[in-house]
Each structure stands twice: as C-alpha cells, then as structure tokens.
C-alpha cells in the first residue's frame, strides 16, 4: 500500500544547493530498492548535500518499494542506477540483465533469524519442526542454506512486511533485518535478552547486501561519479547522523510513511555497522571476490542461477586489493 513517489532532490528538497549551476549536469535517475529509510541514507544525503551535482550529475531519486522492482526499472530504462542485493543482482545478471555492480556498499548481511527465548529456542537445532516466518525470493536464500546446513526440517511460513506474526506467536522464529525488524521487535516491548538471534553472516552465510548497480548502457564515468558521491554521502551521513536523519525524515514523511526517528537512528547506526564493519572499513564500496563467490555458489546450489556470471564483467567498481 505504498504510494509511488518521484523524488527529485532538487525540486523537493533544495536547501543547501546553490541556485546557479555553470555546467550542464548529466541527469541520472536513481532507484533505491526499498522505501525511503536509513538503509539509503547515504544517497539522500548525497543528493541533499549537493554531492551528486558536485560530481556533475543531476540525480532524481525515485521512491522504491515492492511495487517498483529494480529489475524492471533498470531494464525498462526508468532508472539508470539502482541499489540491489548482491544475490538478486547476480541472479539478474545471470538472467542476462545488462547491469554492473559499481560498488558493494553493504559488506555484511543484516539478515537474521529471531526467536523468542520463551519458545525454548537457543540454538539452530531448536528450530527443528518449528514454524519459521520467512520472506520469499532472494530473502529465502540464506535461510534455506541455513536450514540445509543444519538439516533443519522447519515449516516455513511466508511472512509479510510486519513482524507481528512472530510477536503473536504465529511462528516460532522469523527472519528479520537487523537494522529494521529486529529494532521493531525491541520497540514492540520485547527485550534483547528475551530473544534468540541467528545472524546468517555468523553461520558462513554472509551475503553482502546493498550494492550500487548501473545500467550497462550508462556512461561508466557517470556511474563512477554516482558511486563517488554516494559513498561520500554515506560517510557524511555517518559523521553527521542527526543531520542525515533530518534529511531522511523529510523523505519518509513525503512518502507518507511512518516517520519514526528513533527507528531510523537505529537503522543508520546498523547501516554503519554493515557498510563499514570493523575489519573491512578501509574497503568501502569494494566487492570482495570471496563474497561474490559465496553468494553465487548458494544461488547455483539452490538452482536460482544456471551459471555464475563472470565476476570481472559483473563488478566494475574499485578493485579489491
């Protein structure tokens, strides 16, 4: 029930941007793969702070969401640049979609399983025979590999965007994003020590998530400009979190979404944790071959792809050292 919205940062929120622009800017349309939230703070901040214009591009941010899938937008030309999960992107690329990974922004997977400790679940084996709420599609890759790895015979229940199924004990465990649903659970009155969590990243299933993808047809220079400004936007957002939240809240409100600053603050903090996890902080935006291979292998094993796309063709961002 999300309303589609076209968000031109220039038109909608033009606070800190100089009125006069001496150079002709290259228009770029950007589609975040979900609704406005701190998951995409870096891009909104880059837009608001004029970082894209500084790179010579005039970015229009589309409002993402389930009704506007990235694959269609990129292929249909509605968007020049989009964010997407690595797993999804590999699958798209394997399916022939003309997209390239220009930067792997999120390094660490936020996907997790959450269970109430009251249900007796302490370790993966305790999930055996239980109902587990899952999301479908690429969100299911990691749980599926997890259940397989631990030989868990679980009854999966496709869950919606809310976490209420878990809260009302419709399921014993549910997938959640660390930066989103997990916090919603906490702020629905469950304490952290009342919960058991399984981060897939901790079980050999670290799927780097949000990356920046450009249409193959898009000028590589423009794509790189977008990446540079976006990464700058992220760093600015992490360095000026409240300002970033101010910007973000305006976008959320404009999208008629529930503008919960506390929640967005949590999300921004977690985005920092997954974009710049301590060991790889110096490699902001770099896609590691090992990560690529891991995700591709799971996709291959699950039959989602028939063959692994060529990494070098797939990844056009800064080389990993």
């Amino acid at each position: 029930m999300l309303r589609l919205a076209l968000s031109l940062c220039l038109g909608l929120l033009s606070r800190s941007v100089p009125a006069a622009e001496p150079l002709a800017l290259t228009p770029v349309t950007f589609l975040p793969h979900w609704v406005p939230q701190a998951q995409f703070a870096g891009y909104y901040v880059a837009c608001e702070r004029g970082l894209y214009r500084a790179q010579g591009i005039d970015v229009t941010i589309l409002t993402g969401g389930p009704e506007r899938p990235v694959s269609a937008a990129l292929e249909g030309g509605q968007a020049d640049v989009a964010t997407q999960w690595l797993s999804t992107a590999i699958r798209m690329r394997a399916g022939g979609a003309p997209i390239v990974n220009a930067a792997q922004v999120v390094q660490r997977s936020s996907l997790m399983l959450v269970a109430k400790r009251a249900s007796g679940i302490r370790e993966p084996a305790d999930l055996k025979g239980k109902k587990v709420g899952v999301w479908e599609g690429d969100f299911f890759l990691q749980p599926q590999a997890f259940f397989k790895a631990y030989r868990l015979d679980v009854r999966t229940v496709p869950q919606g965007s809310s976490i209420n199924l878990l809260l009302r004990d419709g399921v014993s465990a549910a997938v959640a994003m660390w930066y989103n649903e997990y916090h919603t659970i906490l702020n629905s009155g469950l304490d952290a020590d009342e919960l058991t969590t399984f981060f897939f990243a901790d079980y050999g299933l670290n799927f780097p998530e949000d990356g920046i993808y450009c249409r193959a047809a898009l000028s590589a220079a423009v794509c790189r400009a977008f990446v540079r400004a976006s990464l700058d936007g992220w760093q600015y957002a992490f360095a000026h979190r409240e300002e970033a939240l101010d910007i973000l809240m305006r976008y959320i409100t404009a999208a008629h979404l529930s503008a919960n600053r506390v929640h967005q603050r949590w999300m921004l903090a977690r985005m920092h944790d997954v974009i710049m996890p301590a060991p790889v902080a110096a490699r902001l935006g770099v896609l590691q071959r090992v990560d690529y291979d891991r995700v591709a292998r799971v996709l291959l094993d699950s039959g989602s792809i028939a063959r692994v796309p060529d990494f070098d063709a797939f990844y056009t961002g800064a080389a990993a050292d």
């Binding site: 702020n187 629905s188 304490d191």
Partner: protein, 701 residues
C-alpha cells in the same frame, strides 16, 4: 557565626528553628496533602480509565460479534458468491462501526480457479462498495490480518494501520478464522474480517477529562500509540520507541507492563507535556491493548501549590514577625550586656569609674548588672587598698634597699671603730698596768712628800729667825753707820775707812743672809705647796722672775744630787713679757720639770760623751703680744720621734727606774693646756737637741 553577637545568634537560632518547624509542618502537610491528592486523582483516573476500557471493550466486543457470526456461518454453510457479497454488504451496512468487511479465502478454497478470493465490502461516500482484494501487488496471505489468525487459530485484532485508500484513517481489523470440514478433517478456509475505524476510539479517549492537562491514550499490543493528543506520535511511535528516544528505562518497563495486560498507577515522565506525570493504565481484554490515563502532577497539585504559596507567604510573614520579636527580645537582653561588656572593657583598661548601663529590670540581666556594679565598687575599693599597700611596700623596699646599701658601710665603720677601741682598750690596759705600777711608786712618793712637808715646816721656823734677824741686823748696821758718821770726826780717817769698809761688808752679808733666807723660805713654801698637791689661784705673776727662780732651783737640785754636774745656762728673758695672770706654783712646776729634764739630758750626754761636750741649756722668753712664749732648749740626745708621741702620756719616762715618775710632763701638759689654755709642744732633732715651747695666753678665755 562563632564571633557574632548573642543577639544575632539568638535571632538566627530561633528564627531558623521557627522556620525549620514551619518548614517541617509545611513539608509534612505538603506531603500528606500531595499523597491524598495523588491518591484521589489516581482513584479518579482509575475510574475514568476503567470506564474508557469498558467503552472500548464494549465497542470492540460488539464489533467482534459480526465477523464471528459470519465466520461461524461460513464454516457451516454453503453459499454462492452472490450470497456472500450480499452478506458482506449487509454486514457493513447494518453495523455502523464496521468500515469494511472481508471474507478472504485460502488459495482455491472458494473458487478452485482462483488463488485469491477476497471480496471486500466497505463504505465509500455513504455507499457500500465491494471490491476484490488480492493479486500480485497485494498478496493478502502474508498480511497480518490474514496470516495471524490463520497461524494462531485465533480471532485477532490487528495492529492499527493507516488505511491509505480510505482517507488516511487509522484502522484495526478484527479477523476471525473460519474452517470447513472435508474428508473428516477440519480445514482452514480463510478469515472473516471487520475493519473498524479507530476514530471513535479517539473520540472516546479524547472525551476523557482528567485534569487541566491530563489525557487518556491507547496503545496497541506492540506498544504503538493508537490515540494520543500529540498526533505526530499516533501510529508512529511505540512507548518503547519513546523510551529509547528519551533514554527512559522506566517508561519501557511501564510499556511492557501495559502490553502484558497489567494495570497500574505509576509515576513517569510526562509524554507530550513537561514535568512529571502519573499514569493509570488498564488493559482492554478484547484486543490486548491498553488504556492509559496520564496527568501531570503539577495539575493535581495546582490547588496544593496555591495553598502552599499562601501558606509560604503566611509562613514568611510569621517568620518575619518572629524575627522582629526575637530581635527585639534579644536586643533587650544583649543591650545591657553590651553596656556591661563595654564597662568591663573600660574596667579592664583600668577605668574604674566607667558608667554602667541602667538596668532596672529584676530579671537575670538586671541581677547581672547589679552584681556587676557591686563588683565594680568592690574592685575599686580593693584597688585603692592595693595601691596604698603597694606604696607602703615600695617605701619599705626603698628603705630596705638603702639599709642594705649602707649596712656594709656601717659594719665596716663599726668594725674600724671596734678595732680602734680594741687598740685603745689594749693601750689602756697597758697604761693601766703601768699606772698600777706607778701608783705604787707614787704612793711611795706621797709618803715621801708628807715627810718632806713635815721637814719643811720644821725648817720654816728657824728660817724665819734667820731672815728676821738678818733684817734686824741690816737695820742695826744702818744705825751703826749713822753712829759712825756722827763719830767720824773723832777718828782718824784710816780707822774710819776701815770701819766703814767693814761696815759695808757687814751690810752686804746681812743683806745676802736675808735674801737667801727668803729664798729658802720660798723653796720650802713651794715644797709645802707641791706636797700638799693643791693648786693655787690665778694671780699676776712676773713670768721672767718665776722662770729664773725655777731654772736656778732645778740647777741647784741637780747640783745637789750630783756634784759633778755642770751646765752652761744661757738665759734670754724678754722684759716685755711682764706680768701674766697664771697660777705661779703650777707654771713654776712646769718650768722646773722641763729644765730638770733638760739638765738630766745634757748631763747624761756629757757622761757618755765626755769633756768634749759642752752641756748647754738655754732658756728664752718672748712676748708675742697676746701670748707669751717660753722656749727651753738642751743640746742633749734629743727625743726620738717614737718617743715624742707618747711624751705627754702620764707615767711615760725614759729615765731609769727610780729616777723619774713619768708624771712630770704629763702634769705639765695638763697645767699648760687644760688649766691655762696654752700650748706645750716639743721640737727635737735626735742626737742634736730638744726644745720645749710653752705658749701662754695673756688673757684666759
């Protein structure tokens, strides 16, 4: 404080005490009133909350009936799509509180050819429209309203949500699962839902009036604020989010209690209001939501605060009055004390006459002042006494000092005196011994004197005959001469001359007999006088004659004792000396003694030296005007200086024993100096000469 005045301390202590008591009373009163007010407000809020809960509960449960009945019907009946839609329309139409209703089926459960089958009847512009839910863009199987009742087998009220299509109203959906039986097993077919607008909820809650600013609110089972005066919070914040934003663990605990279905009355930081609030909460059993009633403590305590304010003003005025009274009392006490203190200080400086403050009261201060005055008087008297005593003591001390200073000197003087006396005594003792011996000698002499007097008296008579007849003979001679002259013619010249010559010789002899008779008489008379020891009377005396007489007497005395004695007498008498009023016997004795000694001295020297020595005694008198000087000099051995000092001591003599009494010069000195107020001194050169000088005044003083 320590050095402040008594009045200050007293005032501070009493006023502090008074204020403290007032403060305690005030605090106690405030506390009790506050508790009462809060309790009453809590009771009231609890009642209001329960009323609200009941209203909500009633509304919800009455709403629940419709989908429940429908679900029951669907589970037990067969129906066509048209009948179903008709039913749905009726449900919505007949139940004003129901905004919309759905019967959502499991895939293929109603229409084997359709995955989604969920007709939805809802109000739109006072009409009831029916549309079908489900499709690729709305997979209702994963919606809470469908999935939760399905997975939990329970009817459930959904979390509130915005119905974006229905004018942005907050909705909650009551979903009832319904089941069919096929092949003997109970099979989940779908859910019947009733969407309820929560506007009425808001209106129920907003009608609640608790206090000036108090309000009621409702949270969902997730703690989401469903109704709240702050619209920005509604459907956007959970209590837990608020707690996180405010870092308020207490609020999180309250929220957990609320969503767990507890009821309570707790203090908390206000939500949407400043300050502290009280929160009454109670669960809504139907959907597990919770109604809260929050009211600021300040509202409850507004009246109490007003009361406090006036009480504080009264307390302030009372304290001020207390302060004035206490200061006045303290002053009345400390005023005289200050005066007394000043007086004491003056007293301490020595001003005993400092005036005392007039205190007429009979209290402690009055008695103190009186005692002080007494003390001042006594002190004054005492100090005067002390002053006198110390003056006396100073005098004594000065005397003592003087005495001690002079004592030594005096002791020394006395010691000297004593030593002198001692010496004198020793000398006297020696003299006494000597005198004793001399007295023996003198006694002998006295007996000799008496003998001499007897002899002299016997001699005197015949001597008178001698002199008398010599006198007669002189007269007879005179007569004879006369006769001769008468008969001279008759006789030849030669015979007559012879006879005249004889007659002349006769005359001279008789004259000499007379003269020497008289002289002998004089000597005897002197002897008598001397032996009698009596002094004669002062009478004019021819000093030269007296001197001449006693020089001769001495000479003859010496000659009489020693025939070999010879001396050359040189005499030089000044005729100007004339008559002197003296005691001739005594002065004569003086001359006699001195000439005697001179003769003795030269005689001794001559015996020792021999014929080569010419013993000479020279006597000389000289008129000195008012005085007369007599010098008697010898060329003997002189007088040694040591002897010279003792010369005039009684019984001192250098003569061999028996030759002198040692009294001669002593008596002489007494006669000249004591009796005649003259001088007797000696001048001598040892081995050469000795000269005695006698000076006699012409007039006795």
């Amino acid at each position: 404080m320590r050095n402040r005045g008594l009045a200050f301390k007293l005032s501070v202590l009493i006023v502090t005490g008074g204020v403290a008591v007032l403060g305690l009373l005030f605090g106690y009163n405030y506390r009790v009133v506050r508790e009462i007010v809060v309790k009453n407000a809590g009771d009231n809020a609890r009642a209001v909350t329960l009323t609200t809960v009941n209203r909500v509960e009633t509304a919800l449960t009455s709403t629940e009936k419709v989908p429940q009945n429908l679900a029951d019907f669907l589970g037990h009946s067969t129906y066509t799509e048209a009948e179903l839609l008709k039913l749905l329309r009726a449900v919505v139409k007949n139940n004003r509180e129901i905004y919309g209703a759905t019967v959502a089926f499991e895939p293929h459960a109603f229409d084997p050819g359709a995955v989604y089958f969920a007709p939805y009847a809802h109000r739109r512009n006072d009409k009831i429209e029916v549309r079908r839910l489900g499709g690729d863009t709305y997979r209702y199987f994963a919606a809470d309203w469908y999935q939760i009742p399905k997975e939990t087998d329970h009817a459930v009220w959904s979390e509130p949500y915005f119905d974006e299509g229905g004018g942005n109203i907050v909705m909650s959906t009551y979903s009832v699962p319904f089941y069919g039986v096929s092949d003997g097993t109970r099979r989940f077919l779908g859910v019947v839902t009733a969407d309820v607008s929560l506007d009425w909820l808001a209106s129920i809650v907003s009608s609640v009036r608790l206090s000036q600013r108090g309000y009621a609110f409702i949270i969902s089972r997730n703690g989401m604020l469903v109704t709240h005066p702050m619209r920005s919070l509604v459907m956007n914040e959970t209590l837990f989010g608020l707690a996180e934003a405010r870092d308020d663990p207490n609020l999180r605990q309250i929220g957990r209690a609320m969503i767990h279905g507890d009821a309570g009355f707790v203090p908390t930081a206000c939500i949407g209001l400043p300050g502290q609030c009280w929160l009454v909460y109670a669960p809504v059993p139907a959907n597990g939501w919770s109604v809260g009633a929050m009211f600021p403590e300040a509202d409850l305590l507004a009246d109490v605060t007003n009361l406090n304010r006036s009480m504080l003003s009264l307390a302030g005025l009372g304290s001020l009055f207390l302060l004035i009274v206490v200061v006045a009392v303290a002053r009345s006490i400390t005023g005289p004390l200050t005066g007394l203190t000043r007086a004491s200080e003056a007293l301490a400086r020595g001003d005993l006459d400092s005036s005392l403050p007039a205190v007429t009261s009979g209290d402690e201060v009055g008695r103190l002042a009186a005692a002080f005055a007494r003390m001042q008087r006594d002190l004054k008297r005492y100090i005067e006494d002390l002053r006198e005593t110390s003056a006396a003591r100073e005098r004594v001390a000065a005397q003592l000092e003087e005495y001690s200073r002079t004592l030594e000197q005096k002791v020394t003087e006395r010691t000297h005196e004593l030593q002198d006396k001692n010496v004198a005594l020793e000398s006297t003792l020696t003299q006494l011994k000597s005198t004793q011996e001399q007295l023996i000698v003198q006694e002998k002499l006295a007996s000799l004197g008496a003998l001499t007097a007897g002899i002299a008296h016997e001699i005197k008579n015949p001597l008178n005959f001698v002199t008398n007849f010599a006198q007669l003979s002189t007269e007879l001679t005179q007569e004879l001469r006369t006769e001769l002259d008468a008969h001279a013619a008759g006789m030849d010249a030669k015979t007559r001359d012879y006879i005249a010559e004889l007659l002349g010789d006769l005359e001279q002899n008789v004259a000499k007999i007379n003269e020497h008779g008289k002289r002998a008489d004089s000597i005897v008379r002197g002897m008598l006088q001397h032996s009698r020891g009596q002094s004669g009377d002062f009478q004019p005396t021819d000093l030269n004659a007296l001197l001449q007489e006693h020089v001769a007497l001495a000479y003859h005395g010496m000659r009489a004792q020693d025939a070999t004695f010879n001396v050359t007498l040189e005499a030089d008498y000044d005729p100007a000396v004339g008559q002197l009023r003296i005691v001739p016997q005594d002065i004569g004795r003086v001359f006699l003694n001195i000439v005697n000694n001179a003769c003795y001295a030269v005689h001794e020297k001559q015996r020792r030296v021999g014929s080569t020595f010419t013993p000479t005694v020279s006597v000389r008198s000289q008129d000195l005007g008012d005085r007369v000087e007599v010098r008697i000099r010898d060329n003997g051995d002189g007088i040694p200086r040591a002897v010279r000092d003792k010369l005039f001591n009684p019984f001192f003599t250098t003569k061999p024993a028996g030759k002198g009494t040692g009294l001669g010069l002593s008596i002489s000195h007494d006669i000249v100096v004591q009796q005649h107020h003259g001088e007797l001194r000696v001048d001598s050169q040892a081995g050469e000469y000795a000269e005695f000088v006698i000076v006699l005044p012409r007039q006795l003083p």
